[in-house]
Symmetry: C2
Subunit: 291 residues, 2 copies
Amino acid sequence: MDVDAYMAERIPLVDAAIEARISAFANAPEPIPERLLGAMRHLLFPGGKRLRPLFALAAAEAVGGPAQAALPLAVAVEMIHTYSLIHDDLPCMDDDVLRRGRPTVHVAYDEATAVLAGDALLTEAFAVLAAGADAESATEAPTRILAVARLAAAAGAKGLVGGQVDDLAFEAGGSPEGTVHAWLASIHARKTAALFQASIVAGAALAGATPVQRSRLEAFGRDVGIGFQIADDLLDADSEEAASILRLQGIDDARRGAEGLLDRALEEIEGWGEAAEPLRVLARFSIRRRR
Amino acid sequence: MDVDAYMAERIPLVDAAIEARISAFANAPEPIPERLLGAMRHLLFPGGKRLRPLFALAAAEAVGGPAQAALPLAVAVEMIHTYSLIHDDLPCMDDDVLRRGRPTVHVAYDEATAVLAGDALLTEAFAVLAAGADAESATEAPTRILAVARLAAAAGAKGLVGGQVDDLAFEAGGSPEGTVHAWLASIHARKTAALFQASIVAGAALAGATPVQRSRLEAFGRDVGIGFQIADDLLDADSEEAASILRLQGIDDARRGAEGLLDRALEEIEGWGEAAEPLRVLARFSIRRRR
């Protein structure tokens, strides 16, 4: 399976689902400030490679379900990823003026709107996951609530937010006692790997994964998430922090480490057959990519 | 039933549930930055009157359930209320340095930590609602997912966040065409009433409310939420915006309007008997309070 062909087929599906959700706002009877909608859309469109949503869909297929079962999660996880970028870019955090070659949200709009657009995307992520739920008819409720729990854990104080707090502290003054390398790994695990892992595990859960499948995908997701982050550092070796990891570890060591994670991840889903091929293709792409 | 005695009994129950949730972080195996935990706690303890959580518990009782059924929601709604205060106080928004007589979070910590503490509280609110959910055993899942949906709708782009965006725009340059009074009412409905309404409806849903009960409580909750906001404006008549509402409407008119909302709200739950008495007591207190 060719990763480019797979992405070319699947990314428009994700884009359309995000677009449908955002358009539903614009057409809602309740007033939605246009400025807020614009700021929420700013980084969502045009999107990036939508890797987290694609992993959610591929995980659903890998456990024998339709990819569509994971579509609400795919939208939710991209909204959370986007909110985290908007807030990370704020003047009080990384103070970035460009993101993917375009002005960041607080530059294109203003700081208050950027904070609020992030807040809205984070909140709407959970709304998407709960959408259509009804106490009378929600046979999907148990897996939906599990997806909410998994996503909130990955995004909250133990995950994304906690990682960002420690990342800012690291940039300001270094690591606590203990090795710098382990500390940076912990920050990256929380800032990046946790959301990949949640996308994969919750995506599979929405498609009816068994407990055994879910436990395999927990391990697969953790390795792929960390491998993705190493690939990111290798691509981004001119940034100060990434360089500091690579200097500590060495570029060849880092590449070998990533390959080891990939091998271990693929072993977890060995024997899962053709249905798991998208998951394998995405794992290889994420860890070996040069772009 | 005496409102002070009721609050004296119930507030500690809410405080203990919030404390238990935050302590669970502090004792978790995953690292949680101490600075983040401190900033999350800063406005949560000591708390205010915990009105939103108390309404959630009272609504659960009113439909014949145990108050405890609504405890996860009570914690979640207070976390969301607290996150919104932290973000509203930021320099790029209302730029407040004091809240309940203490330094605001960005003053006590810093701006980045305040943004992230708000993000964490918002995320953890949904984690609390989903906690304990498991695809195998979650018989409560349908009402939990309904509570997630209701809370996310009240807090998101159509509710709290959208109201804040329009509030900032109003302070900067006034209302769109149409009457100022209706515009301010719309802002307050989204910034305040929506979360009261969600606390009441979702609290009842978690205790097994019937569709008829839920629909009555939608109306009750809307009226109580707007009535609460009018009472707030009457208490806070020295603030510029509140004064502008009261100037438009007149203080006596505002009081009469609030009493009318209270009457209508109480009619919605007429005949609900003794179990609904806490709900009535809280409604009267919220709308007639002088503190």
